[in-house]
């Protein structure tokens, strides 16, 4: 794979990870976690791990985000930290 792309995605990964943990709105945090998972999936696809990328796209970016959003809707959207 092309290491420049790799590096760019990795930097974005760090940024999204920090944002999703810092933002006070849990719904936004869940969405950005979905973005994080999707970037991760791109990275793995680039590393020739297609099956893992496929799974992460379905599970991480898809179902996990839905689970998180369902919980946020059912509990509370604000977070103190």
């Amino acid at each position: 794979m092309i290491w420049q792309f790799d590096l760019i995605i990795l930097v974005f990964l760090v940024i999204t990870a920090i944002i999703s943990l810092q933002v006070k709105d849990l719904l936004a945090a869940s969405m950005i976690y979905g973005v994080y998972s999707f970037l991760m999936c791109l990275l793995w696809a680039g590393m020739a791990a297609v099956d893992v990328a496929f799974t992460e796209a379905a599970v991480g970016a898809g179902v996990s985000s839905v689970f998180l959003i369902a919980t946020v809707f059912r509990t509370s959207r604000r977070s103190s930290d």
Binding site: I18, L26, A48, T55, S64, F67, L68
Partner: protein
């Protein structure tokens, strides 16, 4: 460019540590239970990134055989001879050991003429392991969220310190 090559030799491993520490910090330090679980997912994905990085090989492709390799294998029964010749042209080594059968007459190797170079394909083992790890991750996330909702049902909040206060005040 040499400087970049030195960096590119290892930077995946460095950044996986950074992502993982972000997740770990959130798991320990955050108060909000959903935030903790997001941190947990980030922590686990970082480990998966580490494993996937182990399996990368320069110049290798995805661990699925090329179409013509499979093709040669599947039509082996009909066109065994041609497949045989094609492969011996490319790889002169694989002549012996064809069509071995066990004592019941079943072939011991499928499509023995197809020659696969070990360095053409990425390491499939780590991918298998990480499929399992992703599944474990989503299962843990689901259970964690269910417990969070149960706590919200019982205490009306998802902040850990508030729950501690409620328990201390005897509610």
């Amino acid at each position: 460019m040499e400087f970049f090559e030195v960096i590119s030799a290892k930077f995946n491993y460095w950044i996986y540590v950074i992502i993982m520490m972000i997740g770990l910090y959130a798991m320990i330090a955050k108060n909000n239970m959903v935030k903790k679980l997001i941190g947990m997912s980030i922590f686990q994905t970082a480990i998966i990134l580490f494993y996937v990085s182990i399996g990368v090989k320069d110049g290798a492709t995805i661990p699925i055989l090329y179409h013509d390799q499979v093709h040669a294998g599947h039509h082996h029964d009909d066109h065994g001879e041609t497949a045989h010749h094609e492969s011996t042209d490319d790889h002169h080594a694989s002549t012996s050991g064809d069509h071995e059968t066990d004592k019941y007459g079943y072939p011991t190797r499928h499509a023995p003429d197809v020659v696969i170079d070990g360095n053409d394909f990425a390491n499939p083992l780590v991918h298998v392991l990480m499929l399992t790890a992703i599944v474990v991750g989503v299962a843990t996330l689901g259970v964690g969220l269910a417990i969070t909702q149960k706590l919200h049902r019982e205490f009306g909040t998802i902040e850990e310190n508030e729950i501690h206060d409620l328990i201390k005040s005897g509610k």
